[in-house]
């Protein structure tokens, strides 16, 4: 049997099991909603104006947060990668904060930026910053030293070194950073919305959860996953073509 056939078969079996569980009545009503209910909730959601309002809020928070976190992360990574001493001095702190779950910084962010959109945007930026900074710093250290020496021998300024030597040499790594940053910004922003907000897809999911509208909850999460996974694989394909 070929791999594709196995995948199709697996999908069919999984969906059948799901439907059987939904209809068996073993679980409390709608804990596992039937596929029909999820599909109709999904379609209904697509035609509701408020869905797209929440979508736009989340997209703005993720997009703007990602841009801020990405630009700062690349700049920091360049500094930490090119200046060995600075890089080694900050490494333990960057690694430490990078490992910790970013969502626990939400209280600090909310004290600084309030509980509105700015706090979600800031958490998205914070989530994106660390993987971008670490990935950039690691790739800077692997840039061909000949290129760096050529730049130095031409007496390039620091800014010219960054824009003419490092950034072009780092192109593949910059795309990887964008993917990493995007994935974490999505998680950071939506978790923050779920915790405390009044707009965005995370807020919508939390509303459905609190009111026990489980099929609608599935529909929102499905939308988030389709968009997130789709954008991620698009960036992956872009990176391969790079």
């Amino acid at each position: 049997m070929a791999a594709t056939q196995i995948r199709v078969l697996t999908l069919i079996v999984l969906l059948a099991l799901w439907e059987a569980t939904a209809r068996s009545g073993l679980l409390y009503q709608d804990v596992v909603p039937s596929l029909m209910k999820i599909t109709s909730a999904f379609l209904r959601m697509l035609f509701e104006a408020q869905t797209w309002h929440h979508f736009a809020v989340s997209a703005w928070e993720i997009g703007a947060g990602l841009v801020i976190g990405y630009v700062l992360g690349v700049a920091f990574g360049l500094a930490a990668g090119t200046r060995r001493f600075f890089g080694a001095a900050v490494a333990p702190y960057v690694d430490g904060i990078a490992t910790a779950p970013k969502i626990v910084f939400l209280p600090i962010v909310m004290l600084l930026a309030g509980t509105g959109i700015a706090s979600k945007l800031a958490l998205g930026a914070l989530s994106a910053f660390f993987p971008v900074a670490i990935n950039t710093a690691a790739s800077v250290r692997q840039v061909n030293p000949v290129l760096v020496r050529v730049g130095r021998s031409l007496r390039l300024t620091r800014w010219q070194m960054a824009t003419r030597i490092y950034l072009p040499a780092l192109r593949p790594s910059l795309v990887t950073s964008l993917r990493l940053g995007f994935g974490l910004a999505v998680v950071g922003v939506l978790l923050a919305e779920i915790k405390l907000s009044n707009a965005g897809l995370g807020f919508l999911a939390n509303e459905h959860y609190s009111l026990y509208r489980v099929p609608d909850l599935y529909a929102v999460l499905l939308l988030v996953f389709i968009v997130a996974v789709g954008l991620n694989s698009a960036m992956g394909r872009f990176a391969e073509r790079g």
């Binding site: 791999a3 900050v90 779950p101 969502i103 209280p107 994935g183 978790l191 995370g202 939390n206 991620n232």
Partner: protein, 245 residues
């Protein structure tokens, strides 16, 4: 050595600047806790049982999630290597799941399991099992063909080949998977505790915020960073120490 001294000096300067900024009233003490308030806040949290107990609860959940993920993920990864057609069919899916924001599914687990340890540990399990499966498969796939050929030349049966040659050669790679799994489990469990106000360290950070105990909140967040960082450092050391040279 010099670098770490510089790092500590930088941190100290930052703390002094924050202290000055708060005392001078440039930033409100309701937003940034003055660093000098942190030791006493830590003692208060410790006294109220908000440090050791919750840390133990969080770590125990992370270990439980990783043990379960290893028990399921290692055989699964082995199977994906042993049956290449299964590997070809499922590895891209698992890779996609690794990149997908799976933690966002937590409201569904709340519906399924309720607001309790089942949800937090399950989140940890999902976070841990994916890297364990991928790394186990990679570890087996990376066993040098020469080793397997030597085993065959000694007429080892297929089962002996796996047990005596492939598995020992794959152990370091499998350990990498377990290490990653444990860290992912820990981080996701802390985040989940924070989100649902339940369990160990994550819950403390959330509780301090809602009580508006600013220094306590900073202490809890710093504790989380320290625990994550210590875990990362100890496990990396352990791995280099265990790895055959």
């Amino acid at each position: 050595m010099k670098e770490s001294l510089a790092g500590i000096a930088g941190l100290a300067i930052l703390a002094i600047l924050l202290e000055i900024a708060v005392r001078a009233g440039w930033v409100s003490a309701l937003v940034v806790a003055p660093p000098s308030a942190l030791p006493s806040a830590f003692m208060r949290l410790w006294g109220e049982g908000f440090v050791a107990g919750p840390a133990g609860i969080t770590l125990a959940q992370a270990f439980a999630a990783t043990v379960a993920a290893g028990a399921i993920g290692i055989p699964w990864g082995y199977l994906l290597w042993r049956k290449p057609v299964l590997g070809e069919a499922y590895t891209p899916w698992i890779g996609a799941a690794f990149a997908a924001p799976t933690v966002l599914l937590f409201p569904l687990f709340l519906v399924l399991f309720g607001r309790g340890y089942a949800t937090t540990v399950f989140i940890g399990f999902i976070a841990a099992v994916i890297p364990i499966v991928l790394k186990t498969r990679e570890a087996f796939a990376g066993v040098p063909k020469v080793l397997l050929d030597v085993g065959r030349s000694f007429r080892l049966p297929e089962s002996g080949l796996v047990r005596r040659v492939a598995f020992p050669a794959a152990v370091p790679g499998i350990f990498t998977g377990l290490r990653l799994g444990l860290i992912y489990a820990l981080v996701n469990i802390i985040g989940m505790e924070f989100l649902i106000d339940f369990g160990g360290l994550g819950r403390i950070a959330s509780e301090m915020y809602f009580r508006f105990e600013i220094p306590g909140m900073y202490v809890a967040i710093i504790l989380i960073v320290l625990v994550s960082w210590t875990f990362l450092a100890v496990l990396s050391r352990l791995e280099t120490w265990l790895r055959p040279r």
